[in-house]
Symmetry: C2
Subunit: 115 residues, 2 copies
């Protein structure tokens, strides 16, 4: 009775709360993931931090935090899940915010770049 509902709930764009969005983005690993999602959606397994695996329950928790804040979508995709940034929704609700956060000048590039 604990299984995963196929479709997870996502808040409507109009209901997004700025402080919740800011909080979700205020964690370094979550922010890094959001930046990796800026270009393209990722399959769930690709959401792992670039260096070193973390337990899947921990990853799932971070995805939940981002999803419930309305930052990302998490949709069924075959056997996996497709995680995507709700960029349009965020832009319409909080103009300029997500761009400012994702395009921070001087930020280390997200993803496998770090060597």
């Amino acid at each position: 009775m604990t299984g995963a509902p196929r479709e997870l709930p996502h808040p409507d764009t109009a209901d997004l709360v700025l402080t919740d969005v800011l909080f979700a983005l205020s964690d370094p690993s979550r922010l890094d993931l959001v930046r990796r999602l800026a270009d393209r959606p990722l399959e769930g397994s690709a959401c792992q931090p670039v260096n070193g695996e973390i337990p899947k329950s921990t990853l799932s928790h971070h995805l939940k935090t981002l999803r419930e804040a309305g930052v990302i979508r998490n949709d069924p995709h075959g056997r996996q899940r497709l995680v995507s940034l709700r960029r349009q929704d965020l832009e319409s609700r909080f103009p300029g915010l997500i761009t400012a956060v994702v395009d921070e000048p001087g930020a280390a590039p997200p993803g496998p770049i770090d060597l």
Copy 2:
């Protein structure tokens, strides 16, 4: 031996960390204060939430969180302190961010407006 140093430390603009800034802004009462600071600096006593007083130690704690993240300055000003938004510094380090946060469309106006 626990007294307040006259000048409190403020991080350099170059050292500001985005996740720390986002976290500092992710609290509703802190965000409200930041919005009230958007126009003009406030004396410390004017930083009280508009409805209902909070203990001074609690207020001081929130100011510390904002100050250490680099969101505000807190400078001696006679017997009081002058609290101001580091808007220029934030704008140069994270272009567009502080404007997006402070000018959120549809946000309730900050300050004593709520009746």
